[in-house]
């Protein structure tokens, strides 16, 4: 499945400045592996030593936080949009 991934500014140094990546993957975990193959170093930015999504990283599939879906096992369909967003303060 070809999906689009939106890369936030702090990671673009690793993606040669690219804002959108197109990847082929059946689920989010595979998607991260596929990005890691293209741009080594990306995975350790997103995932901790246990392989879980880091505390201050939010990943959305079509606008929904994957922690409300199946986390890294969240399946991806052709045309889905994945967005990686650092946590921000609020109010």
């Amino acid at each position: 499945m070809v999906v689009k991934v939106r890369i936030p500014t702090p990671l673009r140094r690793l993606t040669n400045g690219r804002e959108i990546l197109e990847i082929t993957a059946a689920d989010l975990g595979q998607g991260i592996e596929s990005m890691e193959t293209q741009f080594p170093g990306l995975k350790e930015r997103l995932c901790d030593e246990e392989g879980e999504i880091r505390r201050f990283v939010n990943i959305y599939v079509n606008g929904e936080d994957v922690r409300f879906l199946q986390g890294l096992a969240t399946s991806l369909e052709a045309g889905d949009e994945v967005s990686i967003v650092p946590a921000v303060a609020g109010g």
């Binding site: 201050f56 946590a87 303060a89 609020g90």
Partner: protein, 414 residues
Amino acid sequence: MSYTKALRCRECGREYSLEPIHVCEFCFGPLEVVYDYAAMAGGVTRENIILGPYSMWRYRDLLPVGEGEVVDINAGFTPLIPANNLGRTLGLKNLYLKNDCVNPSYSFKDRVVSVAATKAREFGFKTLACASTGNLACAVAAHGAKAGLETYVFIPADLEQGKIVGAAIYGPTLVAVEGSYDEVNRLCSELADRYPWAFVNINIRPYYAEGSKTLGYEVAEQLGWRAPDWAIVPVASGSMFTKIYKGFKELEHIGLLNNGVDTHMVVAQARGCSPIVNAFEQETLNIRPVKPHTIAKSLAIGNPADGYYALKTIRESHGAAVAVMDPEVVEGMKLLAETEGIFAETAGGVAIAALKHLVAADAIGAEDVTVVYVTGSGLKTQEAVADALGPRLVIKPTVHSFEEAVKEAGKVVP
């Protein structure tokens, strides 16, 4: 004078120069301003603070701004009120209210935005922006107007009317987003990557967040340079909560307090959006985000960015975390208004309801110096209490009609 040194990642400790960035490029941890405390301890005295302006800017030397003019609409140095009536009702002899309703745009957000707008101008930005649950929208719009910056404010479309009007009056481009605050925030993070804007709670966040330290400084100064025994704080993202504690600790560290900081820090949330309280109750530091459903919209952040640090602050300070139901929020607002004459927004009702829980659980001693932070005005969230108020007597302009109506309402005319 400024004692800032650098930005540092709170997770991995990597340092960065003082730029408009907020996230560690390596681990995505949040960046925080680092100060030269040794120099600060030598340079900052109670005397210069006391001689400063009657606003948060009396603590200028403890804030991350340069030497130029600050964007100032007189935020801060709000009253700390001895709450004798409410204290008597609850059996507390040293209860105080930090009344931040009386800030220029009627919430504590003026403190953080005054710093953020100042930094935005220092960095040369032309546009000030934010994602907001409402109070921040008002503060950004007001300070943007004062600073002469173009202003974009993004809010969830279902906000209370008082917050929409309270922001729109200052003439920003107000964007109502059909979605929750967490969705507005995600959108703004994406926009912040595309536009060269100063998003106060995104790329300016490390500076912005420091403004809340003044809520700690002021309370300590107003108590006679002492940190309280208890601080009860309504919590959304957790940022202000952690910064109040940081404010107490900094004053202690630079030798301006008469006591050591032994303050129990209490997180108050509405049960309909209590991800931090939930984690505390489950004895974990891992926050599980929630979908908010509460009348306390200013606290309706389901994915609190500083939740982890708020939990650590509770642990370090031997504090507590309390969640309250929406009807208790309304009762809390009414109790505060009826005993102390302060009309707080829903978040204030949350804090008062949490205080009642702690008193019922015998957690707070009768003599303990207890401060409840009341962080925003009730005029902005009138919808929350409108139905619970009464009686409202409607009469003809005659004495007879008045007396009939009073009798019907079961009132005794004194």
